[in-house]
């Protein structure tokens, strides 16, 4: 009997530290920062620096590079707690964690030594990574047309192809406008990426580009590590978002940016695939959903209406039960996916399931929680409207839930007769 749902003392101590930080440093300021109208003036460096000093941006860096050497379960616990206080801050850490994992899995030893060490030893404690993939006309990672109409008819997709950063279908590559042109020992990269998390704030970009103007096969797609302040890199429009405003999303513009060939991820297609995906995104939405449940429960215990505190009304009790079930099941699915990743069992779609489910749960739970607050839930004096706005990103973010189903979950399930 090996199953055990409890956190280890180490995990509980880390979770507790992240919660304390979120409660004292983020929660009291999140609403005020969220209301700043200029999206360029929000990014709270002081909070991020403090968090990084504690190690929140170093969980996944191996100890030999100066990191904490923790796994995805621990990272999810941290991201959930930070997101409990503010989803935008949680998302900044999620995107950074995703890049650390990609660097760890597909980077060369030299690349890892250089950039993991830079992150672990950053004296400013401002080291974040960005992933400039998304463009105006292409998400840069998935295409339902290719998967649904093309690839599935042409036989099963091999497990190692499922990972998003491995599989960029040919049609998608043709649509990608950012190109890498070979120039001696360098690549020259030009193009514009948009919606990029932490762009203009991060120190390292993991950029996708189409290699050569005519490339139409997978080999023509490249990933490049580019310092954020490299010549030829500039930042454009900062997005004015509905929610998650404490993270910054902006355009990244490459104009003949010169990248040494040593900074390319040459083995991202062939390196052994050990992890299942990017489950930390689920932690963002589980944190938001849990906070909404807690707020609704606390409010229902003090709000007097119809002759009793509303927590004693059955309609409220059923709504709260529904929320609690969803919050718990969503976290269990996230931890299962994170645990699968930490076992290095290779690609699985538990990560996709956790993302899709947690984001739907967050929208549903924040909506129901707002209902518990009645009219007050719609007012900015109370936390519900921000939680709802922050949650609403979920089904769209990190590939829409529809794209994630069509591109990854459906092919994975199609290859199996059951699920366990």
């Amino acid at each position: 009997m090996t199953i055990d749902f409890s956190l280890s003392p180490e995990q509980e101590a880390i979770r507790s530290l992240a919660h304390e930080f979120a409660d004292k440093e983020i929660k009291p300021r999140a609403a005020e920062l969220d209301r700043i109208s200029d999206p360029a003036a929000i990014f709270p460096w002081d909070i991020y620096e403090k968090g990084n000093r504690l190690g929140f941006n170093k969980t996944l860096i191996p100890t030999k590079y100066g990191g904490l050497g923790l796994g995805e379960v621990e990272t999810c616990l941290v991201v959930e707690e930070l997101s409990w206080a503010d989803g935008g801050i949680g998302s900044t850490y999620f995107v950074h964690a995703m890049q650390l994992l990609t660097l760890g899995e597909s980077g060369t030893e030299e690349q890892k030594a250089k950039w993991f060490t830079a992150c672990a030893n950053d004296p400013e404690e401002r080291f974040f990574m960005s992933l400039p993939w998304t463009e105006h006309g292409v998400a840069g990672n998935l295409s339902p047309r290719d998967f649904a109409a093309g690839r599935m008819d042409n036989g099963p997709i091999l497990p190692h192809e499922w990972a998003m950063h491995r599989t960029v279908p040919p049609a998608e590559q043709r649509e990608m406008t950012t190109v890498a042109i070979e120039d001696g020992d360098d690549w020259l990269i030009s193009g514009t990426k948009r919606f990029i998390t932490s762009a203009g704030r991060s120190k390292l970009l993991l950029t996708s580009a189409r290699k050569g103007a005519e490339s139409t096969d997978g080999a023509g797609f490249g990933l490049f590590l580019i310092p954020a302040d490299a010549p030829g890199v500039s930042y454009g429009h900062i997005e004015d978002k509905m929610g998650q405003r404490l993270m910054q999303n902006a355009e990244v513009i490459f104009d003949n940016c010169r990248v040494p060939k040593s900074d390319e991820f040459t083995n991202y297609r062939t390196a052994p695939r050990v992890r299942g995906g990017d489950v930390e995104v689920a932690a963002v939405f589980n944190g938001i959903a849990r906070r909404a449940y807690e707020e609704a429960l606390a409010y229902s215990r003090i709000r007097y209406k119809g002759g009793a505190r509303i927590v004693f009304h059955q309609a409220m009790q059923m709504a709260l039960c529904d929320m609690a079930i969803k919050v718990l099941t969503s976290r269990m699915l996230m931890l299962r996916a994170a645990w699968e990743n930490d076992q290095e069992r290779g690609f699985n779609a538990y990560n996709n399931m956790a993302k899709i489910y947690s984001s739907d749960v967050a929208v549903d739970v924040t909506s129901k929680a707002m209902q518990v607050f009645g009219g007050y839930g719609y007012m900015r004096d109370f936390p519900m409207e921000k939680l709802y706005r922050d949650a609403r990103l979920g089904p769209i973010y990190h590939a829409t839930n529809e794209m994630m189903m069509v591109g990854q979950l459906i092919p994975w399930l199609a290859a199996m007769d059951t699920i366990y």
């Binding site: 101590a13 904490l68 923790l70 215990r301």
Partner: protein, 260 residues
């Protein structure tokens, strides 16, 4: 310098008030669901004060508690926040709420350690809010005692400290020879967050479990009953022809009942 910081765990002060009740039969406060135990707030300040002295002047810091194994997360927090070692003394049987037994047990444990130059405590435990133990401990150890302390600096002679002690309307500056027991207040510092690395290191550290707690004295003060505060209230309307009449009547009632 060897600094001993005496700590204890208390139920999470932020646990929902509605979950609190008094178990009169067991004479214990309860929370449902159980409130998470945390290091007492003032003790966090004492740990931070020790860590600051250690950084500034060099010191060995020992965290000490008299409690069961459930207090170990608190000791690990103290380790993560700057203490070098942690010692837990199993509580004496039947100590219950006998603070003197706790003070005797702490003193006995301190005597088994390398000589303590400075003993720091939080000025009260955020659980029962009594603040008895630090003064009792100083008495048992035969050390001078200062409380509530809002600043502490080691002096150049290495054998004394300069303290700032709160008074009703200000503070006084005291030069005190070591050894000394000082009970610190929250004004003294802002406890830092432990880093994730120090939290992990603390989880992997060994906590020394010592025997030798001093048994409670049956003749010492002991708790005989614990009841919740009566929060019921009655509303009394003061009558009168005019506002002045009603004001006069209210003043008379307040005077009669000793409110003014």
């Amino acid at each position: 310098m060897h600094i001993v910081v005496c700590v204890c765990q208390v139920p999470d002060p932020q646990a929902p008030a509605g979950s609190f009740y008094v178990d009169e039969a067991a004479m214990e406060p309860r929370w449902s669901p159980a409130a998470q135990p945390l290091l007492s707030t003032f003790d966090l300040h004492a740990v931070e004060a020790a860590a600051c002295l250690k950084e500034a002047h060099g010191a060995t810091v020992t965290a000490l508690t008299v409690a069961g194994p459930e207090a170990e997360p608190g000791l690990r927090r103290a380790l993560a926040a700057g203490c070098d070692q942690a010692v837990r003394v199993a509580p004496p049987a039947g100590a219950g709420h006998d603070r003197l037994a706790i003070a005797h047990s702490l003193a006995a444990a301190i005597r088994t350690l390398p000589p303590a130059d400075l003993v720091l405590c939080g000025r009260i435990a955020a659980g029962w809010d009594m603040g008895h133990v630090p003064a009792m401990l100083a008495e048992v150890l035969g050390f001078p005692y200062a409380s509530p302390v809002t600043a502490i600096e080691a002096r150049d002679d290495g054998a004394s400290v300069e303290l700032r002690r709160l008074t009703v309307d200000g503070y006084e500056v005291v030069h005190a020879d070591l050894p000394l027991v000082a009970a610190v207040s929250n004004e003294i510092n802002e406890p830092r967050y432990p880093t994730m690395r120090s939290v992990l290191d603390a989880q992997r550290a060994t906590i020394t479990v010592a025997d030798g707690a001093v048994a409670a004295d049956a003749t010492a003060a002991r708790l005989t009953a614990l009841r919740p505060r009566d929060l019921s209230a009655e509303c009394e309307l003061i009558d009168g022809e005019t506002a002045e009449d009603r004001g006069m009547a209210l003043a008379a009632v307040m005077h009669e009942r000793g409110f003014v």
